[in-house]
């Protein structure tokens, strides 16, 4: 019937052009089950902290943190999600994966794309130049009135001046790879209400140093956490103020100090 209507619509609708309405092609988020498993491991870490070797674990954490770009990458990801939130709200689409929405008697499905030209290494940044400075393209999906929690995208030779991003740090960074942002709550409007998991697979370079090619961390109400592999699985490291961290494992929760190299 649809094919017939396309023809009828095309003939009858002289003023408006073709009468055919194409089906919406909804892309499938990549690595859905893997991402969900990672999110679950933050809630219930399978690894246990070796209480007999706490200092060794804390030394590993001290060595790991600089490789995660935690001083700027979380806030950059929050900015991407805020851009998505802005576009989605302007279109009357739901911005919360936990609730479906009906709009004026309709159930909405949509594909939302955010294309950000990276600002480059200049300070102040020059005009948008995708060829010179790279891009990040992010996709989100609303299906049957519900925001799919996983947004994903590709960073292509994305150059960033870290001082422009965060005045407290210096250096130039380059992102090149696949980014997945898994929402653990509504799309954030800022840092305070951000709840998401980020995974990155590719090349992350800061200065002359190439950091981990595969990283993930979680932001939940201002608390930053990452996984640390240990025997039997991962434990979760929640970054606190100063040098304090909270370690969560299957055998309990431990409040530790990285400088003092001790836990309570």
């Amino acid at each position: 019937m649809k094919r017939i209507l396309c023809v009828v619509g095309g003939v009858s609708f002289v003023l408006g052009g073709a009468g055919c309405i194409e089906n919406l092609s909804i892309p499938t988020p990549p690595m859905q089950s893997e991402t969900q498993a990672i999110a679950a491991s933050y809630d219930m870490p399978a690894g246990s902290l070796d209480v007999s070797n706490v200092q060794g674990t804390l030394d590993t954490i001290n060595a790991t943190i600089p490789n995660l770009a935690l001083d700027w990458l979380p806030s950059y990801a929050e900015g991407l999600l805020s851009d998505l939130d802005s576009r989605i709200k302007d279109s009357g689409l739901p911005d919360n994966p936990d609730a479906s929405r009906e709009t004026h008697g309709f159930v909405l499905s949509a594909v939302v794309n955010v294309n950000r030209v990276c600002m480059g290494w200049d300070d102040p940044p020059g005009p948008p130049d995708a060829v010179q400075n790279g891009t990040i393209v992010l996709t989100a999906v609303v299906q049957s009135g519900r925001l799919v929690p996983e947004s994903w995208g590709t960073a292509t030779a994305c150059k960033l001046n870290l001082t422009v991003l965060n005045g407290a740090i210096t250096g130039n960074a380059t992102l090149d790879g696949t980014v997945i942002l898994y929402l653990l709550g509504p799309l954030p409007t800022g840092s305070s209400d951000a709840r998401f998991l980020l995974t990155f697979n590719g090349t992350l370079t800061v200065g002359n140093q190439t950091l981990n090619s595969s990283i993930d961390f979680r932001v939940f109400d201002g608390v930053l956490a990452f996984r640390l592999p240990v025997t039997g699985g991962d434990i979760v490291v929640e970054v606190g103020t100063g040098s304090s961290v909270t370690l969560r494992g299957s055998n309990g929760t431990f409040l530790c100090d990285l400088k003092a190299r001790s836990c309570q």
Partner: protein, 276 residues
């Protein structure tokens, strides 16, 4: 009685008095034809001024007209809706009459001083009227409605750097039982057999470095709205009065777009018929 009322009364009386001896469309045996949602046209050189539509019969089988409510909408909401419809009888053979009606509605929505959006609706209707018995008619109707909105600005929260489009197919039937020369009982039903998803696209600049786009579909909660109406029709020589009441999903007259909530459905039209 105010001056305006006097003027209108005088105008209508004058127009009625100016009517010639010839009547609006009638059957061969002299019964006035019901042309509201049927295959019948208003008749040659006949002007029908109705609350829902103004129609003029260019000849015995071709009408041209407009829907004044959509023009009048401008007085209460910031929207101008020019519209036009043409109805032509393509077959008039014995008890069977077939007509095609092509309509066009163009809504100009001024959302802000800088932004505006447009909605075009193009209903295409096929009417078939069968005189089953001397006093009994069955009027059938099939409608295809294509609607498309486009422009810039914020239209129903869908920021339109793109377009919104939808299409529907409806069928309807009206049973008319002529109890007296000018009086009929009517039973009307309408059913939307096909509802396409509403398609919309939009794009915007979040900041100088960031563009965002949306490609979406809105699926109607009610994909097959319907209505059932019982009514009466008075077909006086110079006045046609249609009244009805029913239940279901209200289909907006003309554009035939269904209101998405099941409710009481009113039906009616009052038209003055003038033979020029």
């Amino acid at each position: 009685m105010g001056h305006a009322t006097v003027r209108w009364t005088t105008l209508i009386a004058t127009l009625l008095a100016a009517g010639g001896a010839a009547r609006a469309a009638e059957t061969a045996d002299g019964l006035p034809k019901l042309n509201y949602q049927t295959a019948y046209t208003v008749g040659a050189n006949t002007l029908q001024l109705g609350l829902l539509a103004f129609n003029y019969g260019l000849n015995g089988h071709l009408d041209i007209g407009v829907d004044p409510p959509y023009w009048l909408a401008r007085s209460v909401i910031p929207v101008l809706i020019p519209n036009l419809h043409v109805k032509e009888t393509v077959l008039d053979q014995g008890p069977v009459t077939l007509s095609v009606q092509v309509s066009g509605y163009w809504a100009l929505l001024q959302t802000t001083s800088a932004d505006s959006a447009s909605l075009i609706a193009a209903p295409l209707a096929l009417f078939a009227s069968f005189r089953l018995l001397d006093r009994l008619w069955l009027h059938g109707e099939g409608d295809y409605v294509y609607a498309r909105a486009f422009g810039s600005g914020d239209f129903n929260k869908l920021h339109l750097g793109g377009a919104v489009a939808s299409q529907t197919v409806q069928v309807g039937a009206k049973l008319e039982w002529r109890l007296a020369r000018i009086f009929s009982l009517t039973a009307t039903g309408r059913y939307q057999v096909y509802t396409a998803d509403l398609a919309f696209q939009a794009s915007s600049n979040v900041d100088p470095y960031t563009t965002a786009s949306v490609d979406g579909r809105a699926m109607a909660m009610v994909s097959h709205p319907w209505e059932a109406i019982g009514g009466v029709a008075f077909l006086w020589e110079h006045v046609h009065l249609i009244l009805g009441a029913g239940y279901g999903y209200y289909f907006v007259p003309g554009v035939a777009i269904a209101y998405p909530k099941r409710t009481f459905v009113p039906d009616g039209n009052l038209a003055v018929v003038i033979q020029l």
